[in-house]
């Protein structure tokens, strides 16, 4: 079933009267349970595509259906709710709040979802367990290593049990070992049914997905399944 369906999607940036094309007439369908890697050189429009798909930015034109709903008519508040309930985000720079504990960071989407204590703590604790950071739950995020930070980010992205997880270069700031752990988590989440959309410019990261979309100059250049998929660990989650 099509979770994401975009038709004729364009995004044009205008700065000081000069137009820059971000996306040009993109058609794309992503089904539930897919693990899609979007790759392309820098400036190709892959990040723009992720932003539009993640409802962080509105397209200039075109149609975007998410989970059977046409998002064009949604106002800012409704889009915020879509991001909150249906999407999870993992960023290259982790984007955790400093001077707040791991648990508090994971609670953020729950707060905006209107979930109250003690349910909030219960869910956050569950997420901490999932990414195996039990012994760091009360640490300030500034005290964590890069890999641990990204695991907190994944836990945060999962807090509201979203259908899709958008990951923007999730391994870009990590050493290869930590990166593998993160990719392992993403594969395990995908195995559990979450749809994953990942932006990367590294082919070994893209090879851990099931499908690769090549973007160039705002267009989909190539859309192909991964033939020899790299499975990081057959075990998935340890628990």
């Amino acid at each position: 079933m099509a979770l994401i369906s975009v038709k004729n999607l364009s995004k044009i940036y205008e700065t000081d009267g000069a137009e820059t094309v971000g996306l040009k007439n993109v058609d794309l369908i992503i089904n539930e349970g897919e693990f899609v890697a979007i790759v392309g050189p820098s400036g190709s429009g892959k990040s723009t595509l992720l932003q539009v798909l993640g409802c962080l930015d509105r397209p200039t034109s075109g149609e975007y259906m998410l989970d059977g709903k046409n998002l064009q008519d949604y106002n800012d508040k409704e889009l915020a709710e879509v991001r909150n309930k249906k999407m999870g985000f993992v960023f290259q720079q982790f984007n955790l709040l400093p001077r707040q504990s791991v648990l508090e960071n994971i609670k953020l989407p729950l707060i905006y979802a209107g979930i109250n204590e003690p349910e909030r703590t219960r869910v956050a604790q569950e997420m901490v367990d999932l990414v195996e950071l039990q012994d760091r739950a009360d640490f300030f995020t500034t005290k964590l290593s890069g890999g641990q930070k990204q695991r907190v980010a994944i836990a945060r992205a999962l807090a509201n049990n979203p259908k899709i997880i958008f990951a923007d270069e999730p391994t870009g700031s990590l050493d290869s070992k930590s990166g593998e752990i993160i990719l392992n988590f993403l594969q395990a989440l995908n195995d559990k049914g979450h749809t994953i959309v990942l932006v990367t410019h590294e082919s070994y990261v893209a090879d851990s997905a099931k499908r690769i979309i090549h973007i160039r100059d705002g267009n989909i250049e190539k859309d192909e399944p991964v033939i020899n998929r790299r499975i990081i660990s057959k075990e998935g989650f340890k628990r």
Binding site: A80, R83, N84
Partner: protein, 413 residues
């Protein structure tokens, strides 16, 4: 999203930048401190003056020459007016004219330099009649008061205040001694009991003389500057004023009250005008302090705008995670209001503390009976104003914050 959560997030946001938050509220602290201080001292001054006015007795009325002043510029005129005469005094003293008058005392006054041997003292002579003792509640410490005969004869007998005695005689006995002013010798027949400050006059620092003596030998004029009258009871005051007005109009051949060349003022009038003056002063000084609050508010707006720019990524992230524009607006507005309210509370504490010190200092240095009052109105004003400033100057930065795009979370520094 619940307000409790907004509050928690805002407090977290502020405590992350503790040093900056402290600096930000400094302007508000100073503004609220000065407003509280001005209010507290205004309240204290008012209650001090009012208690003194009331101490004079609510049965007293004063007749002054000239037209009833309607503005500050009229006051000077009334002092120079010479419409009240000794004849008026005689008429008012007649029971048939003003039956409710218990005591009637004329008052003439002027500055003199009194001397005794080599000692000199700049003071004031008050020419009056013995009834002044009842009206002002004065007492004799040594000797005696001059009598009605002294008034009739314009004798050179005077009664002096405690401070005058101290300055001119030191420790030695004063009764029967001579003092000199305006080239005339006067005999001290009495020493007043120490009384401290009364409204508009400190009897410890004056020389009391028969008003006839004062008119003829000291001041050199024949009119009367004030007439003080005590009514038999507070209820009799209104009727007595009518009698006084009728008597004086008759004396002055006035038919239309508009042409009155005198006016009667009661202690209540006096208390009211004192209140008005201190209120005006409080408002005036308070508005000056208010300007510093506006400056403080602009400071908060400035810092909040910087903060919004600096925290672009945080705002973007919160939006990516599902915060609505309203959530972000509330967060930053709450931060601003918390800052100003904290500044307000700190300012109130400083203001009350400083006004306490000020009353202690005033009492120690000038020997005033300056009461310390907790300025309730100042506190309420301070809290209200600081909250309002938080909203007024916080709304713009908060709106700027709420307009940030969630995409900002993805931008790399």
């Amino acid at each position: 999203m619940q307000f409790k959560d907004t509050l928690k997030i805002s407090v977290k946001g502020l405590s992350t930048h503790r040093g900056r938050s402290l600096l930000t509220i400094l302007g508000i602290v100073i503004g609220i401190t000065s407003i509280t201080l001005v209010n507290a001292i205004g309240d204290s001054a008012k209650s001090m003056i009012l208690s003194e006015v009331e101490g004079l007795g609510s049965n007293n009325v004063f007749i002054l020459p000239g037209k009833q002043p309607t503005g500050p510029s009229d006051f000077g005129g009334s002092i120079l007016n010479n419409s009240l005469t000794n004849r008026d005094l005689e008429s008012l003293n007649k029971k048939s004219n003003v039956p409710d008058a218990l005591d009637v005392a004329p008052i003439v006054f002027g500055p003199v330099v009194a001397s005794r041997e080599s000692e000199i003292y700049s003071t004031m002579v008050i020419g009056t009649s013995p009834e002044i003792f009842n009206i002002y509640g004065l007492g004799i410490d040594q000797g005696e008061m001059f009598t009605a005969d002294d008034v009739t004869q314009a004798s050179d007998n005077v009664v002096i205040g405690k401070k005058v005695a101290d300055q001119l005689f030191g420790q030695s006995d004063v009764i029967g001694e001579k003092i000199k002013f305006k080239d005339n010798n006067f005999r001290v027949i009495g020493l007043l009991q120490e009384k401290g400050q009364s409204p508009f006059v400190n009897f410890d620092e004056v020389i009391l003389a028969p008003y006839t003596t004062a008119q003829q030998h000291v001041l050199g004029f024949r009119y009367i500057q004030r007439i003080a009258i005590t009514a038999t009871s507070p209820e009799a005051i209104d009727g007595m004023i009518k009698d006084i007005e009728a008597t004086l109009r008759d004396n002055h051949n006035i038919t239309d009250p508009k042409d009155d060349d005198f006016y009667v003022t009661t202690m209540k009038d006096l208390a009211n005008s004192v209140s008005t003056v201190t209120d005006i002063l409080t408002i005036l000084l308070g508005s000056v302090a208010g300007i510093s609050l506006v400056v403080g508010g602009v400071g908060i707006m400035n810092i909040m705008l910087v903060s919004v720019t600096e925290r672009t990524r945080e705002i973007g992230l919160r939006k990516a995670l599902g915060a609505t524009n309203g959530d972000i607006l509330k967060q930053f507005l709450t931060e601003a209001v918390i800052l100003t309210v904290l500044g307000g509370i700190t300012g109130i504490i400083f203001g009350v503390g400083l006004s306490y010190l000020a009353t202690v200092a005033a009492n120690r240095i000038w020997g005033l009976n300056f009461p310390f009052t907790i300025p309730i109105s100042g506190i309420i004003l301070g809290v209200t104003v600081s909250t309002a400033i938080g909203f007024i100057f916080g709304i713009y930065p908060a709106r700027q914050a709420s307009k940030r795009s969630p995409m900002d979370a993805l931008r790399y520094e």
